[in-house]
Symmetry: C2
Subunit: 339 residues, 2 copies
């Protein structure tokens, strides 16, 4: 945090990176349903089979994450020895996708968890470690798989349960990026740490509504900490609020005096070509990870977007917490990127 006047007046939870680390490379891999949409031409590996040659959904998820990390390192033209740390986490219990993926690499691993906000949390921490000079190259990565998420959080697919109209579709895919002190690529200029916000939503099929207040809280604190508003950004990118959650986010920020409607895009809302059985759109840690690390970064490299505020959004529930009658606490970490 900088010692600005803003901070003296009230708490500032945005970290300003003086050396503005760069995203020097990225990689993404996604399933066939995902690759039929906007990211299809931008991912490193479009899968024709969402099992990715593995015999379980969980192993397929882990393999995608491992592939994204490995390919991002290769795309950065680095050897594995040159990477100092991997920040990663995922939705599976005990973040096994990230832990088992990290087993494939002889690189220090700092496991993180903020559900579907893991991509931006990992980027924020990677940028902090590099900006401070502790490390030279860090990988931030995450992913998810529709089938492993469904059977862990909801029902096994074999059961054929009907999905309600406010539900979203967990993205099958993984994405990651290499963040470095030197090189070419978009800069991470600051990061706003999320707070846990719980508006009392208990419907586990309505994550967008649960997450929107946490996202609004982070965006508004970011605008205040950085003394900016929506007009200062080419794009305000959220993770996986979906169509309904996005509408709620716009309302909540508008109520606080910020009109983001012209600049806001939600990864969950744009990832699928036709929203049919995905209802409100995509979700899962892999949603923003694949969209950001393929389509969005390509647009930034092409200078179509010059200043992007990326706020992935996470719902911090478990089946146990919901089963015990708890509501859904949510969080959103944000990073600001510039070319």
């Amino acid at each position: 945090m900088s010692g600005t006047k803003a901070q003296k007046a009230r708490a500032c939870h945005t970290i300003f990176f003086k050396n503005a680390p760069r995203i020097i490379a990225s990689a993404a891999v996604a399933g066939p349903k995902e690759c039929a949409g906007i990211i299809g031409n931008y991912v490193d590996k479009p899968l024709s089979d969402d099992m990715f040659g593995e015999d379980t959904f969980e192993k397929a998820e882990c393999k995608m994450l491992s592939y994204a990390i490995d390919t991002a390192i290769k795309n950065a033209r680095l050897s594995r020895e040159q990477v100092d740390v991997i920040f990663s986490g995922d939705l599976l219990n005990q973040i096994i996708s990230a832990s088992f993926a990290a087993r494939d690499f002889d690189i220090p691993f700092l496991g993180v968890y903020s559900a579907c906000s893991t991509m931006s949390e990992s980027m924020l921490l990677s940028a902090a470690m590099i900006d401070a000079g502790y490390v030279k190259h860090a990988v931030a990565a995450t992913g998810s798989h529709f089938a492993s998420a469904e059977r862990q959080y909801r029902y096994p697919l074999e059961q054929g349960t009907t999905r309600p109209p406010q539900s979203q579709w967990t993205v099958t895919g993984a994405g990651g990026c290499v963040i470095a002190a030197e090189g070419e690529g978009p800069r991470i200029v600051n990061g706003t740490m999320g707070k846990v916000v719980d508006f009392g939503v208990t419907d586990v099929n309505n994550m967008g509504a649960a997450m929107a207040p946490a996202c609004a809280d982070t965006l508004i604190r970011h605008f205040r900490d950085t003394q900016t508003d929506a007009d200062d950004y080419d794009l305000i990118l959220t993770g996986d609020l979906g169509a309904l959650g996005s509408r709620i986010l716009k309302d909540l920020t508008w109520e606080k005096g910020f009109d983001i409607s012209e600049k806001h895009v939600d990864c969950g809302e744009i990832i699928y070509k036709v929203i049919e059985d995905e209802f409100q759109g995509g979700s899962g840690a892999g949603c923003s990870a694949t969209v950001f690390n393929s389509y969005i970064l390509a647009k930034m490299r092409a200078r179509e977007y010059r200043c992007v505020l990326f706020a992935a959004t996470g719902a911090l529930l478990s089946t146990v917490s919901s089963g015990q009658g708890e509501s859904i606490p949510c969080i959103s970490h944000a990073v600001q990127l510039e070319v």
Copy 2:
């Protein structure tokens, strides 16, 4: 990482903190079984009932963690507004104890997960954020509960399953500390990031044997990065290897030329007064969290220990990974403390 000669020769994964952040306060709470042992006189709140007034084990675990965070902040004579970030995680699926505890505080929350190595990972990241000047006060905290861990990882207690002799007993307790740029207390002088190490152990009742190789890897890299050996420390404290795991650790480090036998103490080995049905000793994220944040820090403040290397140890399995035939990848993050 410093630009020392050691780094040029080979990768250095120890972060040296030039400003050496201080642990200005701590707090711990633990169950009746735990408080009958060595930590009983040192915890802030010894519980007479391991439900802590809640109606589920999970809610009791969350309440302990929330209590530890709140009490650590109070012990530091800080207001909640003065704390910039909480680093926390726990063993429950989707780290619900940490997420729901963080809901009680209007403080940014960065969720982490490295199983029972979460205490030292949180301390390492807290120290990094403070040393870099990003934040002034950070809380690092974690906890666990015997009954919630048993029913999530193994069997419900009601089933009365016999425990094998190589098993450990998950500690019911939580601990946390406030790390600050200024103030009085032990300094965190550096931190060594763990790597995922998997020696192929598949017995989920033998965590000590699974974790020892990861711990040995971190200790040896720490010794090499800092150009120290066991003689330079008053205490080399591991998290929850238990009696068997500790013996394996001593063998593995001895094979690499480091004799830690005179300096090594394992929190799991010392926490219980009499090791009976706990067999190899204590385990769980709360094991090192309670021992370190009560007994060990008290001894450091009394100058009985002046230089401590603290390496909590985590097993990164889930019931799904074990059920799918996977072995147990493990990790250990270390921090070096001095008074």
